[in-house]
Amino acid sequence: MIPDRVVELLHGPTWIQIGTRDEALRPAHALVVGAMVHDDRRTVTIFVPAARSERLLRNLRENGRVALGLALASHEAYQLKGTYVSSRPTDDAERTRQEARRAALLADALKAGYPPAIARPLVLGLAYTPGVAITFRAEEVFLQTPGPGAGTLLS
């Protein structure tokens, strides 16, 4: 259901953010430091720093609505919308994977033209531990790269 390219990006050096809202429709944002697509290619688990998870989880438990925005440094971008399933603390394996992902993110930022003086602190400053793993089911996938076609429903 989730297109190959989006799966690739979710596992790759992407800037990911999660959007939720509360009972009064007030939006909230949190940075996501890693993601994993399940074999059914519909369920996604994302990782956020525990320190940022309180409001996020409160919203998710209240209404379950999730929007996940992801973008490469080259501005290629997508958005997933779906419903919350569950959450739990991250485990060691996941944390190790995030470390590697952070390194890939830095390489990608440098390649895209970010000066090292900015790319390094920006990427290496991403805190991922202790972390929370949040699982949701994706229902819609949109193209979000700026320019023509932005907003197109992909699946």
């Binding site: 800037w15 953010q17 999660i18 959007g19 939720t20 809202r21 429709l25 007030r26 939006p27 909230a28 944002h29 949190a30 940075l31 956020v48 720093p49 525990a50 320190a51 940022r52 209404n63 609505r65 999730v66 929007a67 996940l68 925005g69 973008a71 971008a77 958005q79 919308k81 003086a117 900015i118 390094r120 602190p121 920006l122 290496l124 400053g125 991403l126 805190a127 979000q144 700026p146 320019g147 932005a150 907003g151």
Partner: protein, 144 residues
Amino acid sequence: MGILPDEIKPAMQGVIPSHVVTCSRDGTPNASAISQVYYVDPDHVALSHQFFNKTKRNIEENPRAAVWVISPETFEAWDLELEFVRSDTSGPIFDVMEMQIEAIASMVGMKGIFKLRAADIFRVIAVTKAVGERIPLAEIPGPR
């Protein structure tokens, strides 16, 4: 009044992209990246509107937005809670944003093609430093 601290200004220069989350009237959030959040005054910011998109559509239904910005100097991040005030298609704020876009567009061969449609002005309801999602700059290993 005046809730935006001076130290947030570098975060509003568009050096590092920002994020914005909005929500439609039917309760579906929308999360996207934006190239720059513009500082207007200690109580207001502006987003540039070039292509018509879901963010804009949501704002028209539900004026609340959550914006995340990060400083390219201190690498501290802030969460802003915003409320849409109005959309400018002229005036001093629009002019400042339009001039920047014109200058850059002319430098990449897109003179006249890429235009600013509107400057969307938001009131800042709350601003908080995003604690816990970043390792403090001093603790980041390696050369700078």
